[in-house]
């Protein structure tokens, strides 16, 4: 089963370090057999999926209670993505084994990239919304670890965090969107939801749901204005860039949008948003690419451009656009993977990533330059490569767009020009022209490194030459993602001279010109730097700073270290909540009679006087004595109101407390009057509010309806069943003995605490190991 395969893939990943110990440098190549096997298996499904047009269903339960299944289903889209992921994955593994040969962290790298591969596979095959999200987030985390692979480098860590933060932020929006989708569609199965488009599009939650889902997709696939993390992610080792940032992870967002097209697509909102965002991204990517000399950055921005294109195509959403979408997707994965690996080869062999520092490498590395050229031509959309077909279909779709046709066309045209320039920069600049001295003496890379790009470049070429082989696949895929009808698709290199071809030709010429004047263009663009600095990335930085600022501000405001503020806040909350409930939820009844003897009133007065005096006294021990008076008065109250046990306890406790306080206060400083008058006033208000609250509550309870007591039972049964005449004591040791048990434990705990505080001081400065001091001899 595929699920088992994916899950065992994770296990395999975990064992990579162990394997590495046994197999050494060959590990990567051997591990590549695993995705290769998956490719084979997927190809075995081809007849069913592509030939018969029936998706393959692989049912598996997970958490049925939460409607989460691990069911996979393989339709055209799934198969296409699955093949790309596993296929390019295998190549990347082989490539990385060589690229990172001897690197101490190679085993860890293999762990993460294999885990990433499996997450990606799970993502594109999952049928369940939640499972999809699970794998989605796993790709974020694993890609985080990959971008930060050079973890001792601050910029790598920063880039990793940026990528993670943006994609996870989007991921959380996605989660909300998926939940809304599940709730609105009353199903958690993607396949099922695809059949419920009508209902979903009409649902109240449609707009928020769509916004959330698109946020997830846009961030993941680096759509404007979230595109900035992708070029920064080039801090990752090149195999990672080749894999994550061309073929797989960034395409997850695209995949999702394609997947949701049948359920949610086609509305005004969908079309407008996707085509506009896609178009803008397309242009932004291309435009920003041209500014850079770092080959990986160039490629990264051109990836942004491609992602924008794909989104735009989904937005346009016509059958043609969807066909273009699938073709372009496939073409891009192939050439971009190849180009990144070439970039890695250049970096690996020359020791630099700067295109301007290279030149004339064609002589030193002919194979590489050939591969680069083929891939770049595909990128540029030059016949007879697959990229050309993709671009032509794209331009054709734009011309058929229902909204913003002109704008989109303009953007596509300019993007095409710039892309051609980029392709030229990447494929011509390093290899042609005069030979330059590079930090490392360049030569052809090992075969393992060439294998990947070569395979991909050849595939680009072959599929461009024989596009008909893709017809069924594209047709099935397009049918699966919401084309009105599962039309028979016929991909062809030559459609005759039509408008798209003319546009392409013009673009080719202008692109070439741009390439020739590239250095000057760059110099011109440098003037825009201040503007760029205010781009979305600045926004991201501002958000990050704001988070920390707000956090610090909040901490200063709330967790300010002043106990009295904490207390006052706590009490105000209490008084506020209780007061609100008291006055707004309750009609207070105060019905009571005052039945007091003078001496009782005097005792109560003394109690108050003791307490107030304790507050007013300038001297500590006088305050203690005043508290003593209060305590004795309370004991007297207990005597007057039939509680001899309480009276005894109260006065014993009072006496012992005084003794304790006196023993302790001896060492302490005198009272100091530390607060300002305004503070005292504030405190007085808080204190009075609390006091008044308590009084009112008591009066309300005393005046309101009161129910019979359970204590009547105790009074009746204390002697017959409890064998005791002192009912309070019977309650303490029998009826509610558990309370008493807890209470003596409290007392014992307090004693241990006191003892430990007084006799045990761990922190001898400098010493880490605390020592007990004379633990045996004191009582």
């Amino acid at each position: 089963m595929m699920q088992i395969a994916v899950l065992s893939g994770f296990v395999l990943a975990a064992f990579a370090p162990l394997l590495y110990r046994w197999l050494g440098q060959r590990t990567a190549a051997i591990m590549a057999l695993y995705p290769l096997a998956i490719v084979v298996w997927l190809l075995a499904q081809w007849p069913t999926v592509v030939g018969g047009g029936d998706p393959v269903w692989l049912e598996m339960a997970w958490v049925p209670g939460m409607d989460i299944t691990l069911t996979f289903f393989i339709d055209g889209l799934g198969l296409l993505f699955g093949l790309l992921i596993a296929g390019i994955g295998a190549l990347v593994l082989v490539y990385a084994g060589e690229y990172l040969r001897g690197h101490p962290d190679l085993p860890r790298f293999l762990v993460i990239i294999t885990a990433f591969m499996m997450s990606m596979l799970g993502l594109v095959l999952a049928d369940n919304l939640v499972t999809l999200f699970v794998f989605w987030e796993l790709t974020s985390i694993t890609s985080y670890l990959l971008i930060g692979f050079n973890h001792t480098d601050l910029s790598a860590r920063k880039a990793a965090l940026q990528g993670l933060f943006v994609t996870v932020a989007g991921g959380l929006a996605l989660l909300a969107g998926l939940v809304m989708l599940g709730v609105a569609g009353e199903s958690w199965s993607l396949a099922e939801l695809a059949t419920r488009g009508e209902r979903l599009r009409g649902h109240d939650l449609y707009t928020p749901m769509l916004i959330c889902l698109l946020l997830g997709a846009f961030t993941k696939s680096a759509q404007f204005p979230f595109h900035f993390w992708l070029p920064n992610a080039m801090a990752a080792p090149t195999p990672v860039s080749a894999y994550l940032h061309s073929a797989t992870m960034v395409k997850a967002g695209i995949y999702l949008m394609a997947r949701l097209q049948p359920s949610l697509g086609g509305t005004e909102l969908w079309v407008v948003t996707l085509s506009l965002v896609g178009g803008v991204t397309m242009f932004t990517g291309a435009f920003l690419a041209i500014r850079h000399t770092n080959v990986k950055k160039l490629l990264a921005y051109s990836t942004v451009m491609a992602l924008g294109t794909l989104t735009m195509l989904l937005g346009i959403g016509t059958e043609g656009a969807l066909i273009a979408f699938v073709t372009f997707l496939l073409a891009h994965s192939l050439y971009k993977g190849a180009l990144f690996m070439v970039a890695g080869i250049l970096d690996h062999e020359t020791g630099t990533k700067d295109v301007t520092a290279m030149g004339g490498l064609r002589a030193l590395m002919p194979l590489t330059s050939g591969v680069a050229l083929v891939a770049a031509l595909s990128l540029a959309g030059v016949p007879p490569l697959l990229g050309f077909i993709g671009k032509e279909l794209m331009l054709d779709s734009v011309l058929g767009a229902s909204h913003f046709m002109a704008l989109l066309l303009l953007l596509a045209f300019m993007a095409a020009i710039l892309t051609i320039a980029v392709a030229a920069v990447v494929a011509l600049r390093p290899f042609f022209g005069e030979q330059r001295q590079t930090p490392r003496a360049a030569h052809e890379p090992p075969l393992a490194m060439l294998l990947g790009p070569a395979v991909l470049a050849v595939a680009s070429l072959l599929l461009g030459l024989v596009p008909g082989g893709l017809d069924r696949l594209v047709g099935v895929t397009v049918a699966g993602i919401g084309a009105a009808r599962a039309g028979d698709v016929h991909l062809a290199l030559w459609h005759g001279i039509n408008l798209p071809l003319l546009i392409s030709l013009v673009a080719l010429v202008l692109g070439w010109v741009t390439y020739r004047r590239w250095d000057r263009v760059r110099a011109r663009l440098a003037y825009l730097d201040p503007l760029m600095a205010r781009g979305p990335e600045a926004g991201y930085d501002a958000v990050m700073t704001a988070i920390v600022r707000v956090a610090e501000w909040q901490t200063r405001a709330l967790q300010n270290g002043y106990l009295r503020n904490y207390l006052a806040m706590t009490l105000l909350v209490l008084v506020g909540l209780v007061g609100h409930a008291f006055f707004f939820r309750h009609a207070p009844q105060f019905a009571f009679s005052v039945d007091v003897y003078l001496h009782e009133a005097v005792v109560a007065g003394l109690m108050i006087a003791g307490a107030v005096t304790a507050c007013l006294m300038k001297s500590r021990l006088a305050a203690v004595a005043a508290v003593g008076v209060m305590g004795f008065s309370i004991a007297l109250t207990f005597v007057l109101f039939s509680a001899p046990d309480l009276a005894i306890t109260q006065l014993l406790v009072e006496t012992l407390t005084v003794i304790l306080l006196v023993l302790v206060l001896f060492r302490l400083p005198r009272f100091a009057n530390l607060s300002a008058p305004t503070e005292r006033l504030r405190d007085l208000v808080v204190a009075s509010a609390f006091g008044i609250m308590v009084t009112l509550l008591m009066l309300a309870v005393l005046g309101g309806e009161r129910l019979p007591r359970i204590s009547d039972y105790m009074v009746e049964n204390s002697q017959p069943l409890g064998h005791g005449h002192n009912i309070v004591n019977v309650i303490l040791v029998d009826f509610r003995a558990l309370d008493t048990l807890g209470e003596i434990f409290v007392l014992a705990l307090a004693a241990i605490g006191v003892y430990a505080m007084l006799r045990f001081h761990a922190a001898a400065p400098g010493g880490r190991q605390p020592t007990p001091r004379r633990e045996e001899d004191d009582g």
Partner: protein
């Protein structure tokens, strides 16, 4: 160095200690029927020792009571806990009181009484633990 107590206080302490202890036992055993009980009795006993402590000092107190107050706490807790178990033996919920008549003297013994004795020991031990620790640090301030 200040002397522990004065002659008059010492004599008073020597007299009052047995008196107070006796009274505390009285309060303990009679607590089920009249005001009193383990807690009150324990506090009285602790007060008695506190007086002795003030009069004669820490060393004299330790010499007199011999066991560590912390042991009293542990024993008391254990005793109180054990008193809950006989009920379990009888198949009743924990804490269900069991009453026995001690043959010769006809005294009614019970698990609540054992429980109360545990309370007594804990209270006495806890207060003494705190007091002796305080006095001990009071004695040599430089240690702090």
């Amino acid at each position: 160095m200040v002397k522990s107590g004065t002659l008059i206080l010492n004599v008073a302490a020597r007299f009052l200690l047995p008196l107070q202890l006796l009274f505390s036992l009285f309060l303990l055993l009679r607590g089920h029927d009249e005001p009193g009980g383990g807690f009150i009795a324990g506090l009285v006993a602790a007060g008695a020792f506190a007086l002795y402590l003030f009069a004669f000092g820490l060393t004299a107190l330790r010499a007199m009571i011999k066991v560590s107050p912390r042991d009293l706490v542990g024993l008391g807790l254990l005793l109180a806990l054990l008193s809950t178990l006989p009920a379990w033996w009888q198949g009743e919920p924990f804490f269900t009181s069991q009453w026995w008549t001690i043959p010769l003297i006809g005294y009614k013994a019970s698990t609540p009484l054992i429980f109360d004795i545990g309370v007594y020991l804990v209270v006495l031990g806890s207060v003494l633990t705190a007091l002796t620790a305080l006095m001990a640090t009071d004695r040599d301030p430089e240690e702090a």
